[in-house]
């Protein structure tokens, strides 16, 4: 009994090769061909992106920078410029938007394109290949792609095509393509699951596929079933067109774990101020605020709270401080602090009759004008002043951008 339509789809996955590194090389051609990593320069920093030259030394993304340096002593480390990366990401989105009616931007450097039906006119492989060439020509950035009947297989194919390549998995060949690959190639299998499966004697996708699904379900629960489907190359998830941003967040890992509550609160205030300006600039309001803390032992706790739609700094700062006070109840060092605004809607701040005075409204208006004109770091609360350097150094989370 077939529930879904059996018409086969054509899904293209495109992924920019070591995106941040490519952008840096484009901006400074002297960096080309050198082992290069992007990541915070502090002691705590991790590798956000690394060039293929650096990978040859065993450097991987998400690796602590100190370790990367040990592996490759002549490594070049750039702290990264999110604004520039966002700009290039937008540029590529625009190129794709010109040619493609249905696509999904799944992260800053990844796109899914639904090319179903294109074969009637152009031949999907040819069409997608031309689009890829066009992107590379117009942006100057290398991009790899995979083409198959669904998102999963295409993504794996892109991984196999990298760097700077393309791979087409013809209809019916999905299982044969996946079978010899090591299980780690399947998205969703992280270090822990991989180790678990390896302990069970499962090393490649073929073995995983040939496992009775009941055993996987017993061992891994519902995840086991999902995993088994993936091993079989099954994935019905649709390509979801670009959606309005529903949340915005920022977080920072301290150079050194801290227990200085006043300092933590100041960081929190500065973060809320930064996000508050961002949502006001985009004419949005938030109805939910979340504060996240990570203790030095990596225990991560978060607490959220619904509020009336607002974008006013003093309301948000007050709420964030309250959440922090409720959350921080262990006398333990803090490693990371973060804030998120979610349930964003379009709209402007509704002025209150008794809580806002004319002076504060004018003050906020004037402050936002200055921030808009000269940058959000030019004007801030005095308590945020000395923190600014540290916050600027940390790599912003990608959630908030794009």
């Amino acid at each position: 009994m077939e529930k879904y339509s059996t018409v086969s789809r054509s899904i293209v996955h495109m992924d920019l090769d070591s995106f941040f590194v490519s952008v840096e090389c484009l901006r400074n051609p002297a960096l080309k061909g050198k082992p290069l990593i992007i990541g915070g320069s502090s002691r705590r920093g991790v590798v956000a992106s690394c060039s293929y030259e650096a990978r040859r030394f065993g450097v991987r993304s998400a690796m602590p920078i100190a370790l990367a340096r040990q592996l490759c002593p002549h490594l070049i480390n750039i702290s990264g410029d999110m604004e520039a990366y966002s700009k290039y990401s937008r540029l590529i989105t625009d190129i794709i938007k010109d040619d493609v009616p249905l696509f999904e931007k799944s992260s800053i450097d990844e796109f899914y394109i639904d090319a179903t039906g294109m074969d009637r006119f152009f031949g999907t492989v040819k069409w997608a290949g031309e689009l890829r060439q066009k992107i590379m020509k117009e942006s100057g950035l290398p991009i790899s792609m995979g083409l198959s009947i669904n998102k999963l297989v295409s993504k794996v194919a892109t991984g196999e095509a990298k760097p700077n390549g393309q791979r087409h998995i013809p209809y019916g060949m999905e299982k044969a393509f996946l079978a010899p690959l090591p299980i780690q190639k399947i998205p969703m299998i992280g270090d822990k699951t991989a180790r678990f499966l390896t302990d069970m004697g499962i090393f490649n996708v073929r073995t995983l596929r040939e496992m009775p699904v009941e055993i996987l379900a017993a061992a891994l629960g519902s995840n086991g079933v999902a995993l088994w489907k993936k091993a079989n190359g099954e994935d019905n998830s649709p390509v979801i067109p670009f959606r309005e941003q529903k949340s915005i967040s920022t977080e920072t890992t301290f150079q050194k774990d801290t227990i200085d509550v006043q300092f933590l609160k100041n960081v929190l205030t500065a973060m809320v101020e930064k996000l508050g300006f961002k949502i006001r600039e985009k004419q949005k309001l938030t109805a939910c605020i979340t504060v996240k803390l990570r203790y030095s032992n990596f225990d991560t706790v978060s607490k959220q709270c619904r509020i009336a739609y607002t974008s006013s700094d003093h309301t948000l700062i007050k709420k964030a401080q309250e959440l922090f006070d409720q959350l921080y109840n262990r006398r333990m060092l803090i490693r990371l602090i973060g804030v998120r605004f979610s349930e964003l809607v379009h709209g402007n701040y509704q002025i209150s009759l008794f809580d806002d005075t004319e002076e504060t409204i004018r003050l906020y208006e004037a402050m936002d004008k200055i921030k808009h004109k000269h940058g959000s770091l030019k004007l801030m609360r005095a308590s945020s002043l000395d923190l600014n350097m540290r916050l600027k150094d940390s790599i912003p989370s990608f959630n908030g951008n794009e």
Partner: protein, 374 residues
């Protein structure tokens, strides 16, 4: 104890006061009506501790006594009985209640009347009389502007103050404010109170439409309303009402007059296209033209209309929550309205242009901050 009463007459009285009873009261006994019979009169009380309503009805009875009767079952029974005299027999030891009608017998278990909380009385109070018609108007004109925010209890009720020259009713939720003033009701009391919204809603529902008199009596903690054979007592909100006089701007001299009906129906249409959460609309007054527009970026919806108006002042662009404007205009009983503005980030005022000369209505609404970075 035994008494006989007409089923429909009893139903009518009970329906009038049933609104007080909440579905899950603080103490279970409050799911009951308190029946007290003496000298051929049945007094029924319903309460939620904050508000209590009492009504009286003549019954045939030789004895006196009291019992608490489950409200839901009793009302459902009476609703489904054809009009006829019914007999209530109450066993005062077991609190068993038996209702006999021509159709048959119904048994239910009541509760000890002495467990029913005692209804407070007003002593050392101030008192005044007002017609139901005027009182209903005052309530209807203000109650919609009260707040739901339980964290700011003062704003969840309507402020009332009587002086020797007028009576003032004020409601606000922090974003808008209505001040309803009448010069034909005056009493030298000068002691303001805040009446909770629930009590006023109940009054609204039970005040008779024929013009009778309401006697209002109150002290610092309770207010007492009496009309026909119904009485209501409510606990007042013991909070300081925000200093509303100070936030009403005096220097709004950018004036616009417009036909209320046209403005209201235009707002209704435009707000369909506004964001469903913020209901944000933009008013742009240039010369003698008012442009109303809204957009919902999530759905690429947008709308705009132009109306002609009389305008005296500089051109102005100001944003509002359309829901606020619509609710306010819905309550204005005047063909034309006058709006007074000063700046896009300051309060706008709405006045009816032609209304009852005894009435003085002022409505205030705060704008949304339209940020333009140009």
């Amino acid at each position: 104890m035994k008494f006989i009463v007409s089923s429909s007459a009893l139903l009518k009285q009970l329906s009038g006061i049933n609104g007080v009873i909440t579905s899950s009261p603080v103490v279970p006994i409050l799911e009951n009506f308190l029946f007290e019979v003496s000298e051929g009169k049945l007094t029924v009380t319903a309460s939620d501790l904050q508000t209590s309503m009492i009504t009286e009805i003549d019954v045939e009875s030789k004895e006196s006594g009291s019992i608490a009767v489950p409200a839901r079952i009793l009302l459902d029974t009476l609703k489904n009985l054809p009009e006829q005299p019914v007999t209530f027999s109450i066993d005062e030891d077991t609190y068993a209640v038996e209702i006999s009608s021509d159709n048959g017998k119904y048994k239910l278990s009541g509760e000890n009347a002495t467990d029913f909380p005692k209804v407070p009385t007003v002593s050392d109070g101030y008192s005044f009389n007002v017609s139901t018609d005027i009182f209903s108007k005052a309530v209807n004109n203000t109650i919609f502007a009260t707040s739901n925010d339980e964290l700011r209890p003062a704003m969840t009720g309507v402020y009332m103050k009587l002086t020797d020259t007028n009576a003032t009713f004020v409601a606000t939720d922090g974003h808008r404010l209505v001040r309803y003033r009448r010069v034909d009701v005056a009493e030298d009391i000068d002691h303001p109170i805040i009446i909770p919204r629930k009590a006023l809603n109940l009054l609204k529902a039970t005040l008779p439409s024929d013009n009778t008199n309401v006697n209002v009596e109150y002290n610092a903690t309770n207010a007492f309303f009496k009309f026909n054979n119904i009485q209501m007592i409510c606990r007042l909100i013991d909070e300081r009402f925000p200093d509303y006089e100070n936030v009403i701007p005096m220097d709004n001299d950018n004036e616009m007059s417009i036909d209320k009906g046209e403005f209201l129906s235009s707002l209704r249409r435009i707000s369909i296209y506004a964001n469903k959460t913020t209901h944000q609309v933009r008013l742009k007054i240039t010369g003698s033209e008012l442009q109303i527009s809204a957009e919902d970026l999530d759905f690429s919806n947008e709308a705009n209309e132009r109306l002609s108006c009389e305008h005296d002042g500089d051109d102005l662009e100001i944003g509002f929550n359309a829901k606020f404007l619509i609710e306010m205009l819905n309550n204005v009983d005047s063909k034309e309205i006058l709006m007074k503005f000063s700046a896009p980030n300051r309060a706008g005022l709405i006045f009816p242009k032609n209304g009852d000369e005894n009435e003085d209505i002022l409505m205030l609404v705060m704008p949304v901050m339209l940020s333009n970075y140009n």
